[in-house]
């Protein structure tokens, strides 16, 4: 079973990961966007870590919702509302319980993906974070349904996210700033898909570390 500490650790892991890859994300976004993705994600998850540090006795659902709200209120740009709504919706899916199991995690991530799609209207192949998030969630669900232990299931989900991330390279963007480049967006990896892969990897480490 997972609990509030899982959420807090996951958010800390993400904050560390996006900070470590800040310049790389900037560079990817500079190629087909405006070069701020690494800054946005770092600012956002730093704020999340600070917010959660004040809120240690919340339920996992409450913490994830708070993380989402914090992203909405601190990031701006496209990634702020998208990831913010995702985590908020994921938090709501976790409900009020003090713990959650593998199935509930899948449900929460599924809800998070739905929030992104509702808000941003991107479909697979539009060269967005959906291209990493969708296969990750699908893989996780399949593996969990098949009874794979969570650390392994998450490893496969993270691999699926990375495959999806790399698959954005040859695509022409149809959503977000990169779409303004038209054909010039081809040949570059989507920054949002890249940070999404980092976020799934962070979850994998969180769960592996606690077991």
């Amino acid at each position: 079973m997972m609990d509030a500490a899982t959420i807090t650790t996951w958010m800390n892991e993400i904050a560390g990961a996006v900070r470590a890859e800040r310049d790389y994300l900037i560079q990817l976004d500079a190629a087909i966007g405006d070069g701020d993705h690494g800054i946005n994600m770092t600012r956002g998850f730093d704020a999340v870590v600070r917010a959660l540090a004040q809120e240690e006795d919340g339920t996992p659902g409450k913490l994830l919702t708070l993380a989402g709200k914090t992203l909405v209120s601190s990031v701006g740009g496209a990634s702020g509302p998208l990831w913010g709504s995702a985590l908020r919706r994921g938090g709501r899916a976790l409900g009020d319980a003090p713990t959650f199991d593998d199935g509930k995690l899948v449900e929460a991530l599924q809800a998070a993906l739905a929030a992104v799609v509702d808000l941003g209207a991107a479909v697979l192949g539009d060269k967005t974070m959906v291209d990493a998030m969708d296969p990750a969630v699908a893989t996780l669900r399949r593996e969990v349904d098949a009874g794979t232990v969570l650390p392994v299931a998450l490893r496969r989900a993270a691999e699926a996210a990375e495959v999806g991330m790399r698959a954005t390279i040859p695509l022409q963007a149809r959503k977000g700033r990169a779409s303004y480049l038209g054909e010039r967006s081809i040949g570059h990896q989507d920054p949002g898909a890249t940070s999404t892969a980092l976020i799934v990897r962070a979850l994998e480490r969180t769960v592996a570390g606690s077991q």
């Binding site: 405006d34 070069g35 690494g38 740009g77 496209a78 702020g80 509302p81 963007a173 303004y180």
Partner: protein
């Protein structure tokens, strides 16, 4: 990390600059530091429709330079090239609502649209009438239902002035929003970059543009354009811009135009006026009448060298609204 910038801490840049705006223009506006807003001293005015806009910083004077009398009631400043967060737009909406509702002028970028949308939803929950209008005047981007669509660029400045005058004379919410929509429909823009710019937080130019080349079809966030081409003469570039804008706008023959030749921040006025003359020559040859004009750096990408052309087909009504008095840090006449 040394950039060619007057800068202390990049993370504090926006707030520190807004302090300066407030100090220089305390007769017109105040700075709400917590929400990173510039709010007109004349707002809220009971019964007047309020106008707010906002977006990433680095486009100055847009939007803060247009807060005052006869234009915006408040501007929300995001980090450099990053949309503000919904909390800001919500706070601005509440601060300026005079009971007659608030128009949100939103430039069409995924981030701006999503963040403004969240704020508008919350404002509605709190009982404030909001009408959001999304500006998308940039002809460089092929419009399509399946993409993020066109970007909002230069027409935003014109819409803020024209709709601001409509709000000042007492038009209601639907009318003011309708005027923003009308300006967006009858205006088109096209931009060219001769250099990249360097966002302070990353400290690196967004793209590398060799001398002798230009980026064609840029937006305002320092992003590369639709294509790269050998640098043309002013005359050739003017031809390109006029052709792109006019072929898409298709003004009525002999129409009255407002021609807005905008600098991207690092282009000196002498070049802007040269470009204006080139553009003008082509428009008048095509039988149009430039009855109003605006030449200068009003919607910028930091220190980028470049220019954009915005053409608005004027009616008598929009001409009168353009001419109405305005008093803001960046645009002022009649008062």
């Amino acid at each position: 990390m040394a950039m060619r910038k007057f800068l202390n801490d990049p993370e504090q840049l926006v707030k520190e600059a807004l302090v300066g705006v407030e100090l220089a223009h305390s007769d017109l506006l105040r700075f709400d530091r917590e929400n990173q807003l510039l709010i007109s001293k004349s707002a809220p005015r009971q019964g007047k429709v309020a106008l707010i806009s906002g977006g990433g910083s680095g486009h100055e004077p847009l939007h803060g330079g247009f807060v005052g009398v006869g234009m915006l009631d408040a501007a929300c400043a995001g980090e450099v090239f990053t949309s503000p967060v919904p909390d800001q737009m919500l706070a601005a909406t509440k601060a300026v609502d005079g009971g007659a509702g608030v128009v949100h002028i939103v430039k069409n970028y995924t981030g701006d649209v999503l963040n403004f949308k969240m704020a508008a939803d919350e404002a509605a929950d709190e009982g404030i009438k909001v009408e959001a209008v999304v500006m998308d005047d940039d002809v460089a981007v092929q419009d399509s239902l399946y993409t993020a669509g066109r970007r909002g660029v230069g027409a935003t400045v014109l819409a803020e002035k024209i709709a601001g005058a409509a709000a000042a004379r007492g038009d209601d919410l639907a009318a003011v929003a309708g005027i923003v929509r009308h300006v967006n429909e009858r205006a088109r823009s096209f931009g060219i970059a001769l250099s990249s710019c360097t966002p302070p937080a990353s400290g690196k130019p967004i793209f590398d543009l060799p001398e002798g080349e230009m980026e064609v079809g840029i937006g305002i966030h320092g992003e590369p354009g639709r294509r790269r081409a050998p640098l043309g003469t002013a005359s050739e570039i003017a031809e390109l811009m006029v052709e792109a804008v006019i072929s898409d706008l298709k003004p009525a023959s002999g129409a009255n135009l407002l021609v807005f030749l905008n600098g991207m921040g690092g282009t000196p006025q002498i070049e802007l006026y040269l470009m204006f003359a080139e553009v003008e020559a082509r428009l008048s040859k095509a039988g149009y009448k430039t009855t109003r004009s605006l030449v200068g750096s009003y919607i910028t990408s930091l220190e980028m060298a470049g220019a954009s052309l915005t053409v608005l087909e004027l009616s008598d009504a929009t001409t009168a609204l353009w001419d109405a008095p305005v008093n803001t840090p960046a645009l002022r006449w009649g008062v």
